[in-house]
Symmetry: C2
Subunit: 369 residues, 2 copies
């Protein structure tokens, strides 16, 4: 396919990831360090890197594992955390974020990764990659440490949109199931719908309607619907996929992260308190490291945009080398498993079921009024 | 005031609490044990206890600290976790929960405490105690362990209602400020409005409107408004009072609890892993106990219903002796500080400001359309 001179160029290797080097809180230094760590761990990764060329060249030159595995695409504009998505959609053509998504659209790369402004990234992904047929609102899905055997649960939406109606929640359920099958290797994922109680009469109207829609589809779409779940079930074992609107999901995600971080700091303080406790922490070092690895939010860094023609991984804005590397690892796994194509195929096969049921439901709903 | 024969009867002591002994997951045994612990710690507490008389008599007789400090009121009905609030409102007159609230309404007790069904407790509290003038939706406020010097933040609403409009959120801010002043001794509490980002253009429409209303009132009501905050700020130090609707607040509360509980279990596993780590945990026992005390959700057990003529403390349904005792301690503190009266007085003095501003805003809002 390529001439031998191109051997070191991106395109000759099996998996090419498109990296937005800019827009993260720690700058391109953290992104390039994360790329380097991933490259070292996996010889099959190649990168298309977007950002200011001279700066990126200097950073990449310093990292041995990246030698001959990056192609830098000059982009002068940077999307800041303060930029309005609507502004970037109209005027962001020169930004590294735009270029990173464009490479997925052009099939030069399989998955794009960015640490930048979530709203702008979602807006650009939607207009450039376009939604899959049958999808109304795309969603961002994350993996959450849980008590389940697979160690993680899928939660979506965690912030693509601030609202979701019953139909959207149904699609989130379907997309979440697909992600759980591919990402967590679960044959028959169990889906829960997030609410303020598990009784069927509780909560908002759209949730009761979504409960009905998801129940109707679950059998034919081959997943188990456990009904309503509560916040405590997100890290729990009642289900594998937690479905909610992007406002609630985002608050839950950040509350969980904040709580974990507070406990981690308190734990450090507790062990630094006295000479005896400092000795204890030395003895327990391996145990504590093991614990940290299990609950370290940086190691499950990466929200996946679902429902588009192509996959985009959103890393935490404050991601450091470890965090960026985790996001890249996730992007690589999704690229390798052909996730985008599988999700599209699955959605196409069940969209008919869903819309058929929706028509039935809305007819049923309206007649008694 | 009372004759000497009444000395051991409830009513002769400064603070009488009204306790619903039924409806908690662990039954009246846990409630009576919690009462006993609180009674031991504080000689000024007296109890009016509601539930099946003969059963309660047997349980209370076994606890020395409760001798002569309880008056049992026979109530045969029990509100279960599955009962619909609307059903209890119509048919719950014989329940221990109804009687517990009634005692506050009749001024026989200052504060009521219940471990039962939250929805039913709120519904009964609303119809029996009635809302304070100017309050549209009452709210449930909790204390959340935080990085702030006072160790806790106030969050409301965590589940009184599944929705809140801009006016409701403004009232939550005012009530939360009052609770932070009385409960956390903060002169000038800082209020944050929970959203999915801190930028002013983000989030749902009612949040933008609430942002405006709270900004207008903050100066005259003598608190600082820090604007939008995110889930991570709930255990953080950006503000002291977090304002949100009851759906989001409830999910955030239970997510935080679930995350803390998962980490706690993982920590135990980590320390049980090897002989060396078991030795380490022995050495670190005091440190770990100190940590547990700081983050143990049972010790901050108790949601306070705000916005009613009288105070009701909702304990966690699964509360054990420690949890019930924490809820009773909170109830005692609120009763002692005259919180109900203070909150009512403050709301009365600022309701005029709020409604005045609301009228201005709604006029401004409608004119451009």
């Amino acid at each position: 396919m390529t001439s031998s001179q191109d051997h070191n160029k991106v395109g000759a290797s099996p998996i090419v990831l498109s990296i937005d080097a800019m827009g993260g809180d720690l700058g391109p230094e953290a992104v390039v360090s994360g790329m380097s760590r991933s490259a070292k761990a996996n010889p099959d990764i190649r990168f298309l890197v977007h950002g200011p060329k001279s700066k990126l060249e200097r950073l990449i030159e310093r990292k041995k594992p990246l030698a001959g595995r990056c192609e830098i695409r000059d982009a002068t504009g940077v999307v800041s955390m303060e930029d309005k998505p609507s502004h970037i959609m109209r005027h962001g053509q020169d930004t590294s974020m735009w270029a990173a998504i464009e490479a997925v659209r052009n099939k030069e790369a399989t998955v794009a990764v960015s640490c930048g402004n979530t709203g702008a990234l979602m807006a650009l992904s939607m207009i450039r990659l376009r939604k899959l047929p049958g999808v109304n609102r795309p969603a961002i899905a994350i993996l959450w440490p849980s008590r389940n055997p697979q160690g993680f649960n899928v939660m979506l939406d965690v912030g693509a949109d601030v609202k979701a109606d019953a139909q959207d929640l149904l699609q989130y359920a379907l997309m979440g199931v697909s992600y759980a099958r591919n990402g967590l290797a679960l044959d028959r994922p169990r889906v829960g719908l997030l609410n303020v109680g598990t009784e069927e009469h509780k909560g908002r109207a759209e949730l009761k309607q979504a409960h009905e829609l998801i129940t109707q589809v679950s059998e034919r779409a081959q997943f188990d619907f456990v009904g309503f779940v509560e916040g405590g079930d997100i890290p729990g074992e009642a289900c594998d996929v937690i479905v909610t609107d992007g406002f609630t999901g985002n608050v839950a995600l950040k509350t969980g992260e904040g709580t974990a971080s507070l406990i981690g700091d308190r734990l450090k303080e507790a062990f630094a308190y006295s000479p005896l406790s400092r000795l204890a922490s030395l003895l327990a070092l391996t145990s504590l490291r093991r614990l940290k690895k299990k609950i370290d939010p940086r190691r499950v860094n990466g929200g996946v945009f679902l429902g588009l023609n192509g996959t985009v991984v959103k890393s935490h804005g404050s991601a450091d080398e470890t965090g960026v590397s985790a996001a890249i690892k996730l992007a690589f796994q999704l690229a390798q498993s052909g996730f985008s194509e599988r999700l599209a195929a699955r959605l196409a096969s069940i969209t008919d079921i869903a819309s058929e049921n929706a028509t039935e439901t809305s007819t049923n709903e309206e007649s008694p009024k």
